[in-house]
Symmetry: C2
Subunit: 364 residues, 2 copies
């Protein structure tokens, strides 16, 4: 279950609140990714300080390690990882297709080998819903077939129809849960398929609607084209979630199309790889020009990293593989992403969102 | 310069204050090791929360990376690493002997190859003092020759005499510095050599006296024997520092002999390797018995790790190589070490230190 209040708008951009079991999420929102029970290098109290209200957990990873039994001993995923606010879990579908050695795939689901210990595992809509119910995430995602890119229209249709069948079974298997369930629009880069997918989902009925299968290798123009086309068609009274996207520009573009929710590993993964987001552009901290640069990473940022350390110090920590580097860099990049969303929310309230669009060269 | 106030005692155990340029250190004290400009995984604000007043920096590592020039751009090591309280730097001697490919060693000093880039580097007492002055540590250590173990009495004597010559030159090179300089008693496992070394140092005159060359492979009984013998002979009006030691029991033993200051990588390194100190004994977190253990690591501990996470969660993070594991484990082990020292200080004040000795089976 979930309550969505739209509290403001500017053009297609929406300002709202998603009321969940454990927290109220101000939208548009960016959800940090806590893949295997932790946002890498980050404590829950750091996320609280960042005013994050919802994070992501990955069903596929968590069912492999620590496994459901361990989580159940703690009650649920929240108690296991010491995070009392909301969690959205993906269905496991995406990771099965990208990370596991698939043994067999048919309309029932997917049989694969665990990349951890080689064990044979079966995951279909019923199994995915079971896992997500045990994790007790506040938003569960329907199990879907991952359409590759590039793919023919015929293949994309077949994959989409399978996802729609799985969406129906996901809904059925999730009945009685106090949490929310989102359906996922598929259909690759084919607008008619996307529309048909959405019609299927609306017929089934979900608490929110996600757009999946984008940012999977297609040119950015194609992704933007598809967002322009499909996002305004999603029901206005339900939250809209763009999965696995993206760069700061992508977030601004998505919001401009009417997206409410985003997740992406970009701020956290890029941080670890030395790619830092600042108000003055990207800083690749390994660059020799930062060797003696005593300035803060971002002089307009108040995060624990920028408040105390220089670019030269961060570069030093990066060079010596000091684990503190990844933590400071991640704290900063999350501050940047969550700060951008905060700016966007305020801008929609104040009818100044077009200024942020101009800043990021976003034209919808 | 340094002021030492002895504020209490029980037997040989001393309670005191070391007043340094940047902070007043309550003794007996354990100093966390911040090898290359960071206590691994830990932020300065974490150390402040732990009420750490002084940490260690390693001259050898810092001169290689980031190099003096980078530190100088920030002012000093404190400003570089964002730590305003005190820092003790070692002389680099120990690491030169244990980590570098030595090209040549004579009475002038040591020529070695940088393990980072193969560059030829010379380090003698004058060079070590120069580096420590640039780092502007609050306590510098005299440059010394590292006596191996086992070693003949003759070799140990030769090494000790070289260290004493280097101590004299260190004192001279350090003249005019506002910081404190400690001399290091050497002489291996030979009591007469240790006594002669101390006599040399006293003649030169230092702000504090350290015991070096222990915990280098000798049986623990021999180390304890030597501490019983030499610590009470160190001047009572100066701080006494036992270098690179040790286990919680070693700390209690050292204090019982009259030691004021300790450092060791044990709490931080062991944390990363899954070895956790608790009030109920050691926890090796990788052990399968912790897989579903929902209890806090140490139910008598209020650290950020024990306040929020279970043993099973820590074990999970350890198993998946999540960097957050090392941070939480290090926070806990430092809490344990610094908490033990706090207990020891209170016990000496209350004449109950013998109870801690009994708890750790320490007999001096």
């Amino acid at each position: 279950m979930l309550n969505f209040l739209q509290t403001g708008r500017q053009g297609f951009a929406r300002r709202g609140q998603v009321q969940l079991r454990r927290s109220t999420v101000e939208t548009p929102v960016f959800m940090p990714v806590g893949t295997i029970g932790a946002v890498k290098t980050i404590e829950p109290r750091d996320l609280e300080r960042l005013d994050a209200r919802i994070i992501l957990g990955n069903t596929f990873h968590l069912m492999l390690r620590p496994g459901l039994e361990v989580v159940q001993h703690h009650g649920d995923l929240h108690q296991f990882m010491g995070w009392e606010r909301s969690i959205l879990t993906d269905s496991g579908g995406f990771q099965v297709f990208s990370l596991a050695k698939i043994r067999d795939i048919d309309d029932r689901g997917v049989e694969f080998r665990s990349p951890v210990d080689g064990a044979k595992i079966f995951l279909g809509p019923e199994e995915s819903m079971h896992v997500q119910r045990v994790l007790d995430s506040d938003i569960a995602m329907a199990f879907d077939d991952c359409t590759p890119y590039p793919v023919s229209c015929q293949e994309a249709e077949k994959s989409m129809l399978r996802s729609m069948d799985w969406a129906r079974r996901s809904k059925k298997a999730f009945q009685g849960s106090p949490s929310a369930l989102f359906g996922i629009v598929q259909g690759g880069v084919y607008p008619q398929l996307r529309e048909r997918s959405l019609a299927h989902l609306l017929e089934i009925g979900f608490d929110g609607y996600a757009i999946g299968g984008l940012s999977v290798g297609e040119p950015k123009d194609e992704m933007y084209e598809m967002l322009r086309f499909i996002v305004p068609k999603l029901p206005a009274d339900r939250p809209r979630y763009l999965m696995g996207v993206g760069t700061p520009q992508d977030l601004v573009f998505g919001v401009a199309c009417g997206v409410d929710m985003f997740d992406c590993v970009m701020p956290t993964r890029n941080a670890r790889n030395g790619w830092l987001f600042t108000s003055a552009g990207t800083v690749k901290i390994r660059n020799a020009k930062y060797r003696t640069d005593t300035r803060a990473l971002d002089e307009n940022c108040a995060c624990p990293c920028c408040a105390r350390f220089s670019r030269a110090y961060l570069r030093h920590l990066y060079q010596i593989n000091e684990p503190l580097y990844a933590r400071l860099a991640t704290l900063h990049n999350l501050e940047f992403y969550l700060g951008l969303m905060k700016r966007i929310r305020a801008a929609i309230e104040n009818d100044t969102f077009h200024e942020i669009c101009a800043e990021y060269e976003v034209v919808v």
